[in-house]
Symmetry: C2
Subunit: 154 residues, 2 copies
């Protein structure tokens, strides 16, 4: 196990003896683990959303099952990244703007908006109608962009 999950074992060692449930921050051993986690989760989400978007935009052929499958995974992935925006993770290998922590409620609202739009896309993707999928892709994409414009540094 040591070779497989060194960072988790370090986290575990650091936390040994705690008797209460762990707060979100304690789920990551080091700030850079949280940064890597959220970037990785967002990349996987973006890959799957991107495929649905490419179909909606007519850039790749529409395939109803592929759209539904990718929307499902993107929706699941949309739930993961935000627990990792913990205090102290505005530095390092990240484009996260410090504004995120200065206005956390607004940031969380923007994240929630994206999750809601992605969930709506997931529902319509199961319906297989390209026009409704296209509309939902547009709304979801807007919610991605709004958050990036406000909270991602170039």
């Amino acid at each position: 196990m040591k070779r497989l999950f060194p960072s988790m074992l370090m986290a575990a060692a650091a936390l040994a003896g705690l008797a209460t449930a762990l707060p979100a921050a304690a789920q990551f051993a080091k700030p850079e683990d949280a940064i890597k986690y959220r970037k990785n989760a967002l990349f996987v989400m973006g890959t799957h959303f991107g495929r649905v978007a490419a179909m909606a935009n007519g850039r790749i052929p529409f395939d109803a099952k592929m759209a539904a499958d990718n929307a499902e995974i993107a929706t699941m992935m949309s739930k993961l990244p935000y627990v990792a925006f913990i205090e102290g993770t505005d530095k390092g290998d990240t484009k996260a703007d410090p504004k995120i922590w200065a206005e956390k409620d607004k940031f969380n609202a923007a994240a929630t908006k994206m999750q809601e739009e992605m969930a709506k896309l997931n529902v319509v993707a199961k319906g297989g109608n390209i026009d409704t999928i296209k509309a939902a892709v547009g709304e979801t994409g807007k919610s991605c962009k709004a958050c990036h414009d406000a909270y991602r540094k170039e």
Copy 2:
């Protein structure tokens, strides 16, 4: 959209006009996209499995809901990486051993073994019994290690 998903749009452009469903390889624009995708998916999986393992090993306090939630996500994540082990992705920023492609059936069997063990862990994690969770964590960890030992370069 262009700012958000440039690699997907490049993939889309490259694929425009195809009239059939896309093979796995065509789901990634460039070999490095496939490499990044599988590494990112494996890292997210490892983070969640690592938390269950840390509880099973007594390194962090056992919390039944946290174990079940993390096992669920790890199981979902376990399904994602393998479609990205496409031909031509043994080079670049990867530790994937070229043996993977020389003996793809054996590699796929090792991947399936891990997915099966993770799915079993997910079932027992919902039961909340730390001893059965511990046993399933052990089997899952062994399946991770077997594949890394055989197919991951140092």
